[in-house]
Amino acid sequence: MARIFFPTSLQQLTGGTEECEIEASTVRELFARLEERFPGIREQVASAAVAIDGDVVPGALLEPLDPDSEVHFLPAISGG
């Protein structure tokens, strides 16, 4: 199961939960599972940058998740 970390800004929606484990094989599936568990969160995570195993993945929706993946939601980073 992928390990999901919630930034402080999302913890209102997760009822204070900082991290959880979710069974999902892609980011899209992860978003659906998250929405079931924390209604309203999909819109928030969809607009964040998704980091999988330490790597920010642009346009991550179809990105596969490994069973031991770590997922973080970060502010977008624009380079200079």
Binding site: F5, P7, T8, S9, Q12, S47, A48, A49, A51, I52, D53, G54, D55, V56, V57, P58, G59, E70, H72, L74, P75, A76, I77, S78, G79, G80
Partner: protein
């Protein structure tokens, strides 16, 4: 100093760059160097007020001037709703972008465009612009962060409600967003700390300072299809943004990249492009627009001014145990400061168990900020690295040693969440510690400072094509403008793969109609992401050529290998086939030799830099002179060490300018007082010593040659390195940038 590569023929060497000849002879064509017969000249009428309602605009007299062909105002652009550019939450909002291009009901900074005019000569366009009558209702301006954040401050946008608060706000404000990062137990952390330092820091807005002003030529045909010649950090993005703002179709616009005369992040967005395109469509003629330097300062860039409070605690053994960072960044007229990367990077170099970081994005009546080299990180590092230096002093510990004890390493969880992959921070610290500079003697009123910095780096969407000509030469095509030698680096990687001379390869930056989509040249991504695509395409070609050799020799594919630019039979059954032979005979083996690869790669290796600065301070005048400077940076692998060093040196010197003299100065009425190179004081050659470089190479496992981005990290440590050196020279902690003579002399007389 560079580690000499072994085992590679081209990677790690320093060939003359392919575009070099054009640039030393004056033949290279930059943005303002394009012209078409009969083109018009466009100018922008800008607001004289930092904050005002536009009551009415009357341009009938101006339009009647002979030679004036078109005038546009905000009413001519479609209204867009909030919509964010791909992957840039908190980044580009097309609605704001459109309103920054041309003001609608309100002007929000001095210099905000109000109208644009195209005429047969520049002079006529300027005269006509002066004849446009704009009626303003002047509003009180918000010019400082403190003022902007007050409850009763005038509000720039009455639909701006702060995101990220614990409870949704009831009223609009100038704070667009709050960001928080928290972990651990702060109370426990402070309990454990033997030494605590808490300080407030401020920095001013600074400009990217590229020497080439923004310039564009737009030509729109009767069929509505248009062509733009412009210099930018990404012509695909220019097309996306420009057509979005105009409500046009991206496919109807071709953008031809000019050589770009510096960007540093400031040319990742649009200003003139939609104006020129729309004026061109209205007038039915090509329109050229070029900014003056004053316009560049008043209405493009800069990066944020900031206010930061940092509190950090350490145990006697040097272990950092707790930290709080409160940060507010100026966004300018519209939301979108780099506060996100600011909060993520401020403590990122260190493994600190108990942390609270809070950041605010604040709008005020100044130009909207744009990306600038490692956006958001340098000012944060100025604050944090100054505190680290002070902690080291209080602990009686060498500042590099303190950093080594707390440095993040592979597998450590970054303060913003994910675990670091392979990184070379400790290596940069050790190299700095062992560098002769670090132990060189100093004289009176001289001091030495060190500081470090972290930057994420970026991958991004990429297309590259490698084609073999019939003579065995190759063309490497990408869609990323080359600002600092990336064409050479891409050619070197292709040469290494293909086994041919790097100068038998022509690297090309192709226009939007000639190659697939490419993200911008930004985020230090080109040598990494385009490099991956070029290497993949080269390898596909090699595979293709080996198959063709097998076909020619009538042997199984496995019996062919690619060695030194030739297909060889592993059995020695046939004479090798050179690239030239395979290419000239390609018609008989399946057609032209060409491969295109598209990638959106993960794994841009994070960059770390540690820098050493020696200064001398004149106690009578407060003048700070940089005597010696060393940049140590992890490049993963330096493909072309000259240009890696160049990035390190250029970044460091921009940081030195930021540290010592550069700042936006506004008068009481919110008008910029120094919109020129005379009083916006960027470093000149005589201000500086040589900038020594040490390239550390901890290869990035996610790039075929180990490349990490190098473009941005170098600008992060200098402000703190200089401030720490000034402290060592004077005993005064400089907490406000720039450390101008006025400020330093004030600090010195505080005794």
């Amino acid at each position: 100093m560079t580690t000499t590569r072994t085992g590679y023929k081209w990677v790690g060497t320093r060939p003359v760059r392919h575009d070099g000849l054009d640039k030393v002879t004056g033949r290279a064509r930059f943005g303002a160097d394009y012209a078409t017969a009969g083109m018009l000249h466009g100018v922008v009428l800008r607001s004289p007020h930092p904050h005002a309602h536009i009551v009415a605009i009357d341009f009938s007299d101006a339009l009647a001037v002979p030679g004036v062909k078109a005038i546009i105002t905000g009413a001519d652009l479609p209204d867009l709703s909030d919509e964010f550019g791909t992957g840039s939450e908190g980044g580009i909002n097309f609605r704001d972008l459109s309103r920054n291009i041309l003001a609608r009901d309100k002007v929000l900074y001095e210099g905000h465009p109000v109208a644009a005019v195209a005429a047969v000569t520049l002079r006529i366009a300027q005269q006509a612009a002066e004849m446009i009558e704009v009626e303003y209702e002047v509003l009180p301006a918000v010019l400082s962060m403190e003022h902007a954040m007050e409850d009763d401050a005038p509000v720039l946008h009455d639909d701006l409600y702060t995101l990220g608060l614990d409870s949704p706000p009831e009223r609009p404000s100038n704070i667009s967003r709050r960001r928080v990062i928290a972990r651990g137990d702060l109370d426990a952390g402070w309990e454990e700390a033997d030494v605590v330092v808490e300080r407030e820091y401020t920095t001013k807005a600074v400009h990217q300072g590229y020497i080439e002003p923004h310039a564009v030529v737009a030509e729109t045909g009767e069929d509505g299809r248009s062509t733009l010649w412009c210099s930018s950090q990404g012509h695909f993005a220019m097309r996306t943004y420009t057509t979005k703002v105009l409500g046009w179709e991206p496919g109807d616009m071709k953008v031809i990249p000019a050589e770009i005369g510096g960007g540093f992040g400031g040319k990742t967005t649009i200003y003139l492009e939609p104006l020129a395109a729309l004026l061109s469509r209205r007038a039915g003629r090509a329109v050229k627009m070029v900014m003056t330097r004053s316009e560049v300062f008043r209405a493009t860039g800069p990066t944020s001014g900031s206010v930061m409070r940092i509190k950090m605690g350490a145990r006697r053994d040097g272990k950092l145990v707790a930290a709080i960072a409160w940060m507010a960044y100026e966004a300018g007229a519209f939301p979108g400061s780099p506060i996100g990367p600011g909060v993520m990077t401020v403590l990122a170099p260190y493994d600190i168990p108990n942390v609270l970081i809070e950041g605010f994005d604040v709008v005020l009546n100044k130009p909207k900020v744009a990306a600038y080299r490692a956006p958001g990180a340098p000012m944060a590092a100025f604050a944090a690295e100054s505190v680290v230096d002070e902690l080291a002093e209080k602990l009686g510990m060498d500042p590099i040693e303190l950093r080594i004890r707390n440095a993040v390493t592979e597998g450590v969880r970054a303060v913003y969440g994910p675990k670091y992959r392979k990184i070379g921070f400790v290596e940069t610290l050790e190299e700095a510690r062992d560098h002769p500079h670090y132990s060189a003697p100093l004289g009176p009123w001289q001091g030495r400072g060190v500081a470090s910095g972290y930057w994420f780096n970026f991958g991004g969407e990429t297309t590259a094509t490698v084609s073999i000509n019939e003579d065995g030469t190759a063309v490497v095509m990408s869609g990323c403008p080359d600002i600092g030698g990336t064409r050479a680096a891409l050619a070197q990687m292709a040469a290494e793969e293909l086994g041919i001379d790097v100068h038998r390869i022509e690297p090309v930056v192709a226009d939007t109609h000639s190659i697939g989509y490419n993200d911008m040249t930004g985020g230090s991504r080109v040598a990494f992401a385009v490099g991956i695509a070029v290497v993949d395409a080269s390898r596909q070609l090699i595979e293709d050529m080996c198959s063709r050799a097998a076909l020619i020799w009538d042997v199984p594919r496995e019996e062919v290998e690619w060695v030194d630019g030739r297909a060889q039979s592993v059995t020695g059954a046939a004479a090798p086939l050179t690239l030239e032979e395979l290419a000239s005979g390609s018609a008989n083996t399946g057609g032209p030799l060409s491969a295109t690869v598209t990638v959106n790669p993960r794994g841009a290796g994070a960059g770390f830099s540690t820098q050493i600065c020696d200064v001398e301070v004149d106690p009578d005048t407060g003048l700070v002179t940089v005597l010696r400077y060393t940049v140590v940076q992890d490049a993963g692998r330096a493909i072309h060490p000259d240009y890696v060093e160049g990035q390190m040196q250029g970044g460091a010197v921009q940081g030195i300018g930021w540290a010592l003299n550069e700042e936006y100065i506004f008068d009481r009425d919110g008008v910029m007082e120094n919109p020129g190179f005379l009083d916006y004081r960027m470093p000149v050659a005589s201000d500086l010593p040589m900038i020594d470089t040490v390239i550390v190479e901890v290869p990035n496992p996610d790039h075929p040659y180990g490349v990490r981005g190098v473009g941005e990290t170098g600008i992060i440590p200098p402000m703190a390195a200089v401030a720490n050196a000034v402290y060592a020279a004077t005993g005064k902690r400089m907490q406000d940038l720039p450390m101008s003579p006025v400020r330093v002399l004030e600090a010195l007389s505080g005794d």
